[in-house]
């Protein structure tokens, strides 16, 4: 039993949590059950999550500004990226920035940490791993954007209209997910429509990792309608159906088979995402994840505004997250078979 019953606790509790989490952020897809990546298996014992759609982060960029800086393609490594932004910044006025990266978003610091090899949490989610070198490397890269003036330290609520900023050339890049493809298509004026492109996230030594977010269907162990739920999940997992879903909603399919359709072969915007799909990494699978993610960017904000040094920030992150995970440690210790 062990971990399974804890998971079942989590399942049960998560019925409540997902239903009642207030819509404080627009990205409701963060509040979903983490996946164990399985693609089958008994529903009574496994945590099964066929994704309905998937959202990995990649970058949207103004290709004309990049071209002006001498880049025909989006940089693929962190080093190239940094150089590109330096060049772009030198060609911009003081109130313009190469990249828009709001400080109150957790995906950026988390993604960079994952790329640098950090597990974010260690010991099966019992403790934070923030003072380890891997996280520090990712965090330093994240701070670098602000330190070197590539991004303005604004919060997402201060950005009145990202699309206008793109149109006016005040921003050259933005990290987001495929749901923005539709938004960009709809909102950018015709002049700018020819000038934007998507690209995969750069990594340390080549294309980088991305986050596996997105809506999921979850089958709860305590469900009274397991058969019906299973049928639905199975139905939604069929490539043809996922394709239909994409056509209806614009949500990209998570199954590679669905991507083989011609709809995607000719879509230059989704190409980057398909590429990215190969390198998605799961997030730590703890129910406290949202709280931890919020803490990460809150501490990040303090480091960005120089209220704390990097060392202090990472130390207090470890401290705070360890406190958050105390109950989990306690429950896991209870679950262990006594020897």
């Amino acid at each position: 039993m062990g971990k399974m019953s804890l998971t079942q606790h989590l399942i049960g509790s998560l019925v409540v949590a997902f239903a009642f989490l207030a819509p404080a952020s627009a990205r409701a897809q963060d509040h979903r059950l983490p996946t164990n990546g399985s693609n089958g298996g008994g529903m009574d014992t496994h945590l099964f999550r066929p994704a309905v759609d998937s959202k990995g982060f990649f970058s949207v960029n103004g290709s004309d500004i990049l071209a002006k800086a001498g880049y025909k393609e989006f940089p693929k490594t962190w080093a190239d990226w940094t150089t590109a932004m330096k060049k772009i910044k030198s060609q911009m006025s003081p109130r313009q920035f190469p990249i828009l990266m709001p400080t109150n978003e957790w995906p950026q610091p988390v993604m960079f940490a994952l790329e640098a090899g950090s597990p974010i949490l260690r010991d099966d989610g019992r403790y934070g791993a923030f003072e380890q070198p891997a996280f520090r490397k990712g965090f330093d890269f994240y701070l670098g954007f602000y330190r070197q003036g590539f991004a303005s330290p604004v919060s997402s609520s201060q950005v009145s209209n990202l699309f206008q900023e793109f149109e006016r050339g005040n921003i050259a890049m933005y990290i987001s997910g495929p749901w923005y493809i539709g938004e960009f298509k709809n909102r950018l004026d015709s002049a700018t429509q020819k000038k934007w492109m998507t690209a995969a996230m750069p990594g340390i030594n080549g294309p980088g990792v991305s986050l596996a977010l997105g809506s999921s269907l979850s089958l709860f162990a305590a469900s009274q309608h397991k058969k019906e739920a299973w049928l639905l999940m199975e139905y939604m997992s069929r490539p043809a159906i996922q394709l239909q879903f994409y056509v209806l909603t614009g949500d990209l399919p998570p199954r590679k088979a669905a991507w083989q359709d011609t709809t995607f072969a000719n879509n230059k915007y989704t190409r980057a995402f398909r590429d990215q799909l190969e390198r998605v990494v799961p997030l730590p699978q703890v129910p406290e994840w949202e709280e931890i993610a919020t803490t990460i960017y809150e501490h990040g904000e303090q480091a960005i505004r120089k209220a704390k040094t990097v060392d202090q920030t990472l130390a207090s992150l470890d401290q705070d997250v360890n406190a958050m995970l105390e109950k989990r440690r306690y429950l896991l210790a209870q679950e262990k078979p006594k020897t």
Binding site: A17, Q158, A307, K327
Partner: protein
């Protein structure tokens, strides 16, 4: 007057000297009829409890009981695990409170809330009093027209106006900074600068709430007899002197009443930071209630949040008692 009773002064059951409008007509209409019904005190008593039952049951079950339960909750570590599986709850004694008092976020929330209440409160009252004086001036006509206009912000939905003000406060495109630019003031990053965020919320709250207190002040001002002003004027007092010698002292009770309800309301700050700043920047606008909401309904740390709620209650209680004490000294 005991501290537990509301300041209504009518606990003993006084009556107005005239019957209320509508009463007389009914008196005539009511038929005099047959048998002298026996309305024993116990009949009345039974009816009374029947009348009270719905209200008392509702208030007890859905208010008093939860308040007590909050206290109980605050000494446990009830959280997301416990919602699904209550037996995982542990009794933790004062641990939540200890954690609270060691938490920099909590002290910041407390400071923010006090900042809001102790700066916003008096400013709101001052504006209310000022407009009440304006509206009470003899030389002014169209009083009710202006009164309605000034009261309108109070009636509007807080969430809706918070959203409007969020755009008014925009650094580049907001009307407020545009207006300031005309006065030669550089644009202020109202909602993005930790130093200006709370003042921004205070300003909006003054605008929203001054109308309510203004009405109360108008009523209070109208209750001051004109002879006192005339007497003062004869004695040579100018308008300013008259204000300090006649108006202010006689408004004393009203002033205290207004400041109590304003403070209590302001300590419960929640919607404005939730909608406008999400508690930021850097938690500069996180209030105690907002923190309670975050901890209790976003992170589901309900035991911890209950401790926060209880501390809020104690703070409000102390503030209220202080003000009642001040009133006793003056009365």
């Amino acid at each position: 007057m005991s501290a537990t009773l509301p300041p209504d002064g009518a606990a003993s059951g006084e009556m107005l000297s005239e019957p209320l409008p509508g009463m007389v007509a009914i008196k005539r209409r009511f038929p005099w009829s047959r048998d002298p019904g026996a309305h024993t005190p116990s009949d009345v008593g039974k009816a009374a409890w029947l009348f009270l039952a719905p209200a008392l049951v509702l208030i007890f079950v859905f208010f008093f009981l939860p308040v007590l339960a909050s206290l109980v909750l605050s000494v446990t570590d009830f959280d997301i695990y416990a919602i699904a599986n209550p037996p995982t709850t542990r009794f933790v004694g004062m641990a939540n409170y200890t954690k609270l008092f060691h938490s920099p976020e909590f002290w910041q929330a407390l400071r923010n809330t006090f900042y809001f209440a102790l700066v916003g409160g008096p400013l709101t009252i001052a504006v209310s009093l000022g407009t009440a004086l304006l509206l009470n001036a003899k030389l002014v006509r169209f009083k009710s027209f202006f009164r309605t206009i000034y009261f309108t912000p109070f009636v509007t939905t807080l969430v809706a106006v918070s959203i409007v003000w969020r755009y008014l406060y925009h650094t580049r495109y907001g009307v407020l900074n545009y207006g300031l630019a005309h006065l030669g003031i550089a644009p202020i990053d109202w909602l993005g600068n930790p130093h200006w965020a709370m003042p921004a919320i205070i300003l909006m709250s003054i605008w929203k709430n001054f109308g309510y207190n203004m009405l109360i002040f108008i009523a209070g001002l109208q209750a001051i007899p004109q002879d006192l002003y005339d007497a003062a004027e004869i004695d040579g007092a100018g308008p300013v002197r008259r204000f300090f010698a006649v108006t202010l002292p006689l408004l004393g009770p009203t002033l205290l009443f207004v400041s109590v309800i304003t403070m209590i309301g302001y300590f419960q700050l929640f919607s404005e930071p939730y909608v406008m700043t999400q508690g930021g920047p850097l938690r500069a606008t996180t209030s105690v209630v907002l923190m309670m909401y975050e901890e209790g309904f976003r992170w589901w740390r309900m035991g911890y949040a209950a401790a926060i709620a209880f501390v809020l209650f104690v703070v409000i209680l102390i503030a209220t008692l202080i003000q009642f004490r001040l009133q006793k000294e003056h009365a």
